[in-house]
Every structure is written in structure tokens, then in C-alpha cells.
């Protein structure tokens, strides 16, 4: 075991830290009047600034605009961004999921065409996997892609598309061979969202906002050259994306969650109940310490997973337990915050007396989605059962 960074990694971290210190924009507090579009435009400018300074795509190949560093530098980047309380970059899915998939499966032409514009936020990406009848059973996709000369003609209805409302491109999975077995007839194809026949409708979530959209594709013509990987091997490509999703997501999460933890601790120290700070209440101390312990365990388990991925090169199915861990932890943590804050915890953005601009009320509701998005806890447990523990497939 050796958890120290190399001198080069330390230098990378220190340079980045200094740059972030000089360049991170002042935070826009919750409750500030700002539309979803204005917010996104702001994040887009921020990503462009990072790109120009050479910080976007840390582990991506140099010839595609990346920095050519290792996954560990990428993790350092995510941690430092979170530590500096930097806004996230606009092109979340392009950077985290679709870009790495293109790097892995794309032709040289595809890499040169798509990757630089993902990094510069010139082209924003969304992902079209789920359908009304293909959620957890994502291989049950019914979207139709029919070959017509050198184009596929696509008819599809996709749901839960983050950034669908603003995306320029969509990484879409469609069924191109309806006669093949369920997992065999799928194709992963890159679709220009400005193509005729594409329609986007927002979905309002229980937390009030509309991060997600549903997408309709009606006779949309997409060049065969836009297929990523081979025709009818889209399942393999999509699976690679999903594993990437689980492997790197945790790195920034630990820092963000730690900040929330520190915020809650500060609240208990500054809030007097029954004549003394809440932080001196024995029950609350026990619960905060429990949350801290769980968060630390997640941090080191994530660290172990990253170290393993960086030596083997591929994320493994064991990433599923990290997904279960952070999502369930976050729900427990937000529940603890609600318990500590009592009725004040329910006050939303814009309300008198709202704590931290209503962040806790929003946070509590938003975390309900954590055990559903990016693969439900049940699906993750199935993956562990079958792929890690070697049980027969249960479905």
C-alpha cells in the first residue's frame, strides 16, 4: 500500500489549486433569481475557461484536446474542483460518460470530430438509453433504427434524459435488428439534436425542477458513419458507459458530501436548543459521528476502487457497491439534517427563515432520486449477485 502522490502528481495538484484559487467565480447563492438557461450559460462559460487553460479532459488523449494524464490526475482534478467549490462543468455527460465511451470505441475520425467540442462545451451531450418500457431492463429497448442506404431512420421515445433540453447531440441506443436476441440487436449511434423530427419535452421532478426531459425521434435520418462501435453491438458499448458512470462519479461526490457534513456540523454548533448548542447533545453527536464514519468508509472504498481501475484500466462490476453506498448514505444524511433542523428543514428557497437558501429542503427531496438514477439499488444488487458473487441470473 502506498497512498502518496508522485512529485508530478503533487505538482499537477498544486498548479491546479493555484489556478482554481485565481479563477473560480464567486458562488451564486441559492435563491438568486436565475433561470435554468442562465445558469447553464454560466456553467458553459466556466467550462470554456477551464478548457482554454488546459484543464478539461485531464485523462483524455492529447490529440483530442485532452491533457494525456492518467486516471489518478483525473481524480485529483475532480477532488480539487470540489474542494475549491468550483461550479460543475456544463457538459457533465459528455465529459463523464460519452467522451470516455468515444475514446474507447470510436474511430480516429469520430474522436477528432466529437471530443474537442465536448471539452470546449461547444457541443452539449445527452444520453438516450431509457424508454417508457425499458428502465432497469435497458436491453428491452424498442426504439427502431431502420437502415436506408447510408442512413438509419430512427423512431424512438426516450425518457429521463438529463440535459435533454439543452443538448446539441444525443448518444442514442436503438434496436437495429429486431430478429436478434434482446442484447444482440442494439446499436449505439450519435444523433444531432437539430435533425428534423427531434422533439424535447421537459419532465418536472418531485423536487420541483426539470433536470430531465423526454425525447421523441420521428423518422430522424442519421448517417451510418455516426454509429459508435459496430452495428448491433450497442449493448457492449452502452455497458462500458454505465461502468464509467459508476467508476468516477464517486470522486467528486466524497468532497461535496464532506462539505455538506461540515455545514451540518456548523449548524449544530451555532444552534441553541434547551440552552446549549445542538452539537453538545449526546444523541446528535452519535448520529453525526455515524454519518462521518460512513462517509469516510465511502471515501476510502472509492479510493481503493480508483487505484484498482488506474492499474487495470477498466472499471469492474464491483463499482456497483459504491453506487449503492453513496446513494443510500446521502439519503440517510439528508434525513439526519431534517431531523436536526426540524420544521426549519422543510422551508424552501425563497421562504422566510429558510436555512442556507432552502438547500436542505431541496437536498432532502432530491436525494430520493439517488437510489433510482444511474441504475436503481435493486439493479446494482442484481449486478453484484450475478457478476460478482456468481449467482445465476435472476431475471
Amino acid at each position: 500500500m502506498d497512498l502518496t502522490l508522485t512529485p508530478e502528481q503533487i505538482q499537477f495538484r498544486d498548479e491546479l489549486r493555484a489556478w482554481l484559487k485565481a479563477n473560480v467565480p464567486a458562488p451564486v447563492p441559492r435563491g438568486t433569481e436565475e433561470s435554468m438557461e442562465q445558469r447553464f450559460a454560466r456553467l458553459r462559460v466556466w467550462q470554456r475557461q477551464l478548457f482554454d487553460a488546459g484543464w478539461a479532459g485531464v485523462s483524455w488523449p492529447k490529440d483530442c484536446g485532452g491533457r494525456g494524464a492518467s486516471l489518478l490526475e483525473q481524480v485529483i482534478f475532480l477532488e480539487e474542483m470540489a474542494r475549491a467549490q468550483a461550479p460543475q462543468m456544463a457538459n457533465t455527460l459528455g465529459l463523464g460518460l460519452i467522451g470516455p465511451t468515444i475514446i474507447h470505441y470510436g474511430t480516429q475520425e469520430q474522436k477528432m470530430r466529437y471530443l474537442p467540442k465536448i471539452l470546449s462545451a461547444e457541443e452539449i451531450w445527452c444520453q438516450g438509453f431509457s424508454e417508457p418500457n425499458a428502465g432497469s431492463d435497458v436491453a428491452g429497448i424498442r426504439s427502431d433504427g431502420r437502415l436506408d442506404g447510408d442512413h438509419f431512420v430512427i423512431n424512438a421515445h426516450k425518457v429521463w434524459n438529463s440535459y435533454g433540453w439543452v443538448a446539441d447531440w444525443c448518444a442514442l441506443v436503438v434496436r437495429t435488428d429486431p430478429t436478434a436476441a434482446k442484447h444482440k440487436g442494439l446499436t449505439y449511434i450519435l444523433v444531432d439534436m437539430k435533425s428534423p423530427g427531434v422533439e424535447v419535452r421537459p419532465i418536472r421532478q418531485m423536487s420541483g425542477e426539470s433536470e430531465f426531459a423526454e425525447l421523441y425521434f420521428r423518422d430522424v435520418r442519421v448517417p451510418v458513419a455516426n454509429v459508435l462501435g459496430k452495428v448491433n453491438s450497442g449493448w457492449e458499448v452502452a455497458l462500458g458507459t454505465l461502468m464509467h458512470e459508476r467508476a468516477t462519479l464517486g470522486s467528486s461526490i466524497t468532497i461535496v458530501y464532506r462539505r455538506m457534513f461540515d455545514k451540518l456540523v456548523a449548524y449544530t454548533k451555532n444552534t441553541i436548543r434547551s440552552g446549549r448548542p445542538l452539537s453538545e447533545d449526546k444523541g446528535i453527536r452519535q448520529k453525526l459521528a455515524q454519518a462521518y464514519a460512513e462517509l469516510e468508509v465511502f471515501r476510502v472504498a472509492q479510493l481503493r476502487s480508483v487505484a484498482r481501475v488506474s492499474s487495470t484500466g477498466v472499471p469492474g462490476p464491483e463499482g456497483s457497491f459504491l453506487k449503492i453506498f453513496w446513494s443510500e448514505y446521502n439519503q440517510r444524511f439528508q434525513q439526519l439534517a431534517q431531523e436536526i433542523m426540524g420544521p426549519y428543514g422543510t422551508l424552501e428557497e425563497g421562504s422566510p427563515y429558510a436555512i442556507d437558501g432552502g438547500e436542505w429542503a431541496y437536498g432532502f427531496l432530491r436525494t430520493r432520486g439517488n437510489t433510482i438514477e444511474a441504475g436503481t439499488s435493486e439493479i446494482q444488487r442484481n449486478i453484484i449477485g450475478h457478476f460478482v458473487l456468481g449467482f445465476p441470473k435472476s431475471y
Binding site: 462521518y292 476510502v300 481503493r304 487505484a307 453506498f325 435493486e378 453484484i384 449477485g385
Partner: protein, 375 residues
């Protein structure tokens, strides 16, 4: 950066696993646990020949001077087989306190035989009110002639019945003092308690006018507090490593069973209800393992967060081992509730470990002081 064990560490781990699987099969553990004294002297001697009794101690006393990661890797294997007997109390508890508190003459006298495998030992710390704040302890040592006389009572002393000597924590002129007491000293009595962990015994140890020589005082005041603090960190680390190993083994046994037991014409491991119980066991096992090795690393490198890392591992492994035991028994169904099935042996060890060396609430409070009060 590398989280995995080095090749040498992996070799050590593999050797330990093979050795313990051969030398300490469950049939042997069961035979031992049914007796008054589960310690196996012949096995202890063999482990000493492997060098394990001196693993973390300096070479001048016969040790191997290895680090905390090696210690964790070895104890993890011991936890897998539920190794009964005094190895844990001798090496991880008494040995590590002695190493931190003793002067060279004292170490030559008491640590060398531990390394050689010729002496068994333990530490007598908490009392009838089982608190871990040293200020709450009331057993005393008083200067008497050229030495000291000890009075008081200690509780939940691990494997005291087999110990050749006991490191006792007492008050000397109001300060904490660590004193070595030979087990045959007149006035020392050991009364066995019947706890549900049959593979690790605990006793009450009483001192009634026990006389020891001046050279038996290892340390007092701040030096004693620091030595005990370090020794207990090492002991908790070893305990949590055992717990991680126990979890891993319980998970293996349970998945093996679920792959062979048939109901409704198929193996029960095909059912999601069963798979999800096992998936939880996997999550707790792997997470505990990460926490334990991180704590080992932090303690080894003396990182500022070492104390917190140790308590994090103890809190998390305590909850996890218990829940792994719960799920493991549940998956086994009626068989899991029988005496002949091994799951209850892991469950008993899990629960005993959860309350040993600071129950979960104690370690949570220790964390609260580190992460709430200190900021």
C-alpha cells in the same frame, strides 16, 4: 498510488491463509470451544515459528519489525478461521502496549518471550463500569518497600486464564500507570465469565495486595497514557482486521450454500430476495476491508487522521459484521439457526467484537470529539 498489498504483503497473506486453513479447521475450533480453555499451545508454537508472534516488534527482541498493513493482513486471516486462544491478547494487546511503554530491559524480559512464543499475555484495563476513559479507572498501585502493591478489580480481560503475565492499568499517585503482573503473583485471581463468544474468553481479574518489583512499572503519567493509546489503536486495528476476515468467510459460506440449496426446483441463489441479502453482505465486507486497510496505513505512517481512521473502522466493522451475520443466518434458513451450522460462531464473534475494545457508542463519541469539537 497503490491501495493493493505489495507482493511481499500478498505472499504473507497467502501463506497465513493456507497455514490457518490447514492448522485451524472449523472442526478443531469446535472441539476447542467446547472446553474450558480454547487456547491451543501447539498451534501457538507453530505460529511463533512462522514469526507471527513477533511480527510487529523490533528485531532486537526477536521480532520481524513489520508494519501495520502486514499485521492487518495476518489478523484478517485469523478472523476467517475464528482462531481461538490467546494470540490476539498476547500480540495485539499486551505486546503492543509493552512495546510502546517498556524500557529495553523490560522488553528483553517480557517482549522477547512473547516474540519467541514462550509467553502468553493480556492487558487488564476496564472495570465494573466498562468505560474506556482512563480517568474512570480506580484500581491502584502504591509504593511499598522497593516495589508496588496493587489493589482493585478489572473486567472483561481477554484470555486472562492462559496469560503468564498481565499488563495492568492502575492509578499511581493519581496518575495512570502500566504495570506487569505475573499471573502467579500471590493475591491475583482470575474468575472466568461466560460470554457468548466461545472462541474468545473473558475474565474478571482481581488484585488483592499483589506485590510487584519496581522494575515491573512500565510507564506512568503522560508516557503511560500515550503508550496505552498506541497499544489500543494497534489492538483495535487487529480486531477490525479479524472482523473483516470473518465477514469475508461468512459471505463465502453463505453464497456457497445459496448456490447448492434448492427450493421450488431451483437453487435459492437464483432468487433476488436472496441475492440482495448477499449483495448487502458483499457491500459491508468490502467497505469494511477498505476501512481497515486505510486505518492500517494511517497508523503505520502515523498520519494525523490515524485515530479517526481507527475509530471509523471500529464503528463500521462493528455494524457490518453483525449485519453480515444476520443476513448469513437468514439465507441459511432453519439450518442457520442450528448448533451444527457455523454461522452462529461468526455471529457470536461479531457481537463480542462489536462490544470489545470500546463499543460502537464509545468510538462514535471519540469521532465526535475529533470531527465536531476540534473544528
Amino acid at each position: 498510488m497503490r491501495f493493493e498489498l505489495s507482493e511481499t504483503q500478498q505472499l504473507l497473506q497467502k501463506t497465513a491463509r493456507q497455514f490457518l486453513t490447514n492448522e485451524c479447521p472449523m472442526a478443531e475450533v469446535r472441539k476447542r470451544m467446547e472446553t474450558d480453555n480454547p487456547h491451543d499451545a501447539a498451534l501457538h508454537k507453530k505460529m511463533a515459528e512462522q514469526g507471527w508472534t513477533g511480527m510487529i516488534f523490533p528485531e532486537e527482541y526477536g521480532g520481524m519489525a513489520l508494519g501495520m498493513v502486514e499485521l492487518a493482513a495476518t489478523f484478517e486471516q485469523m478472523g476467517r478461521v475464528l482462531l481461538p486462544g490467546a494470540f490476539f491478547s498476547t500480540v495485539a494487546l499486551a505486546g503492543s502496549i509493552l512495546d510502546a511503554a517498556g524500557n529495553p530491559e523490560q522488553k528483553a524480559k517480557w517482549l522477547t518471550p512473547i516474540c519467541e512464543g514462550t509467553a502468553l499475555a493480556t492487558a487488564a484495563l476496564i472495570e465494573e463500569s466498562p468505560e474506556w476513559e482512563t480517568a474512570t479507572w480506580s484500581a491502584t498501585a502504591k509504593a511499598s518497600g522497593s516495589g508496588y502493591v496493587l489493589d482493585g478489580k478489572k473486567m472483561f480481560v481477554t484470555d486472562a486464564a492462559t496469560a503468564d503475565f498481565i499488563v495492568a492499568a492502575v492509578k499511581l499517585s493519581g496518575e495512570l500507570a502500566l504495570v506487569v503482573v505475573p499471573a502467579n503473583a500471590p493475591g491475583l485471581s482470575v474468575r472466568a465469565l461466560r460470554s457468548y463468544d466461545l472462541t474468545r474468553r473473558v475474565s474478571e481479574v482481581s488484585f488483592q495486595g499483589v506485590n510487584v518489583g519496581a522494575d515491573h512499572l512500565l510507564a506512568k503519567g503522560a508516557a503511560a497514557e500515550a503508550a496505552l493509546h498506541h497499544g489500543l489503536n494497534v489492538a483495535v486495528l487487529a480486531l477490525t482486521a479479524e472482523m473483516a476476515g470473518g465477514m469475508a468467510r461468512a459471505l463465502e459460506i453463505t453464497t456457497e450454500y445459496a448456490k447448492t440449496r434448492k427450493q421450488f426446483d431451483t437453487v435459492i441463489g437464483k432468487f433476488q430476495a436472496v441475492q440482495h441479502l448477499c449483495a448487502d453482505m458483499y457491500l459491508w465486507t468490502e467497505s469494511s476491508r477498505a476501512a481497515v486497510y486505510y486505518a492500517a496505513y494511517a497508523l503505520d505512517k502515523r498520519l494525523p487522521e490515524a485515530d479517526a481512521a481507527i475509530s471509523v473502522a471500529k464503528v463500521y466493522a462493528g455494524d457490518s459484521y453483525r449485519e453480515v451475520g444476520n443476513r448469513g443466518i437468514q439465507v441459511h434458513g432453519g439450518m442457520g439457526f442450528t448448533w451444527e451450522n457455523d454461522m452462529h460462531l461468526f455471529y457470536r464473534r461479531a457481537k463480542a467484537s462489536e462490544s470489545a475494545l470500546g463499543e460502537t457508542a464509545y468510538h462514535r463519541e471519540r469521532l465526535a470529539r475529533l470531527v465536531i469539537d476540534a473544528v
